[in-house]
Symmetry: C2
């Protein structure tokens, strides 16, 4: 007499799926032929069903944003140095360190790939930007709590965030020394600016 | 007696292929689902054979770069105003005008998509960057010929090019008025900087 044994189902846990999918995205981003970042390609590489990608992330941009933010937060941590200048310099040092690694450059480039396009995506884009600028916003809030006057967010975007992103995208190495300090000097030591509208 | 008439071949001229392919790329970039920029997809949309894309452009990045540079040069022309400040302001005004149109934003975002990735692509990337920075280089050369001292190229990249690109990529509108002048002021009116290495 044989009894049917239930075959153990090799079902990945939610966290295993996330890890496998993130890894698959990183690998596909590194493809020298150009990334094939369709859900079916990502699912195949990760060994998961592509419907679960749609269910969990909804869109390719949302998935890419999840990967990028998770990795950059891990590799580009936020330091509380006790001063606005110190915090901004530490943040820029993290950015420079990321740009100097191939994976870091890929991730920063992927931010551009992950920004939703189209007029309808305005709100989604704003949300993703908020996640990416969260580190800068905490630095500004800590400064304000200490009684310092941080520059407006958009000025930090223009003078600190933008040069790092564009260098990652274009593959232009930052100067070998002093670059984080240089960016922060441009931001904090210039004349105060009249607000624009 | 019938003589075989040669059937007129509906063969696109080289320029017609280029126009059709460029238009196809623009349309695919605008796809709200995210661009499918594979050669077969582009060829199908353009109504040309995809082998001719490989033959003519070699890689997707090279094709994208051709589209982006051609369009941006058309829509973002270079003005000779007679002064360094005037030329840089005019260039920034062109950038701001591009960012304010959906196609302009797409094109600037596509620059990021078109930068070849991978360590082996360093030289190709430098070449593409050269094409994109050609306008800035002419501004610097004209200034030097007039006896003005233009800022180093990398500083213009950091303070003028980067903010415009990153705003296009992130979909952050520039301030409604005075933004080109503000960027140029930050670049030209700050204290001279010690060279970094």
């Amino acid at each position: 007499m044989t009894s049917k044994q239930p075959t153990p189902r090799l079902r990945k846990s939610s966290e295993q799926v996330r890890t496998a999918v993130h890894q698959a995205v990183i690998e596909l981003l590194s493809d020298p032929e150009g990334p094939d970042l369709t859900f079916p390609a990502i699912a195949q590489r990760a060994g998961v069903n592509h419907t679960s990608l749609y269910r969990r992330w909804g869109s390719r941009e949302a998935l890419l944003a999840d990967v990028v933010v998770t990795r950059l937060e891990r590799d580009w941590p936020l330091t509380d140095t006790g001063s606005l200048r110190g915090d901004l310099t530490a943040w820029a040092e993290g950015g420079v360190a990321s740009i100097r690694t191939p994976e870091g450059r890929l991730l920063i480039r992927a931010v551009a790939l992950s920004m939703p396009s189209g007029a309808a995506a305005q709100q989604e884009r704003a949300g993703q930007l908020g996640r990416r600028m969260a580190a800068i916003e905490s630095i500004r809030e800590r400064a304000a709590a200490r009684g310092e006057t941080p520059p407006p967010l958009e000025r930090i975007l223009d003078q600190l965030v933008a040069p790092l992103y564009v260098r990652a995208i274009f593959g232009i190495d930052p100067p070998a020394t002093g670059y984080p300090e240089l960016l922060v000097r441009r931001l904090l030591d210039a004349e105060p600016e009249a607000p624009t509208s």
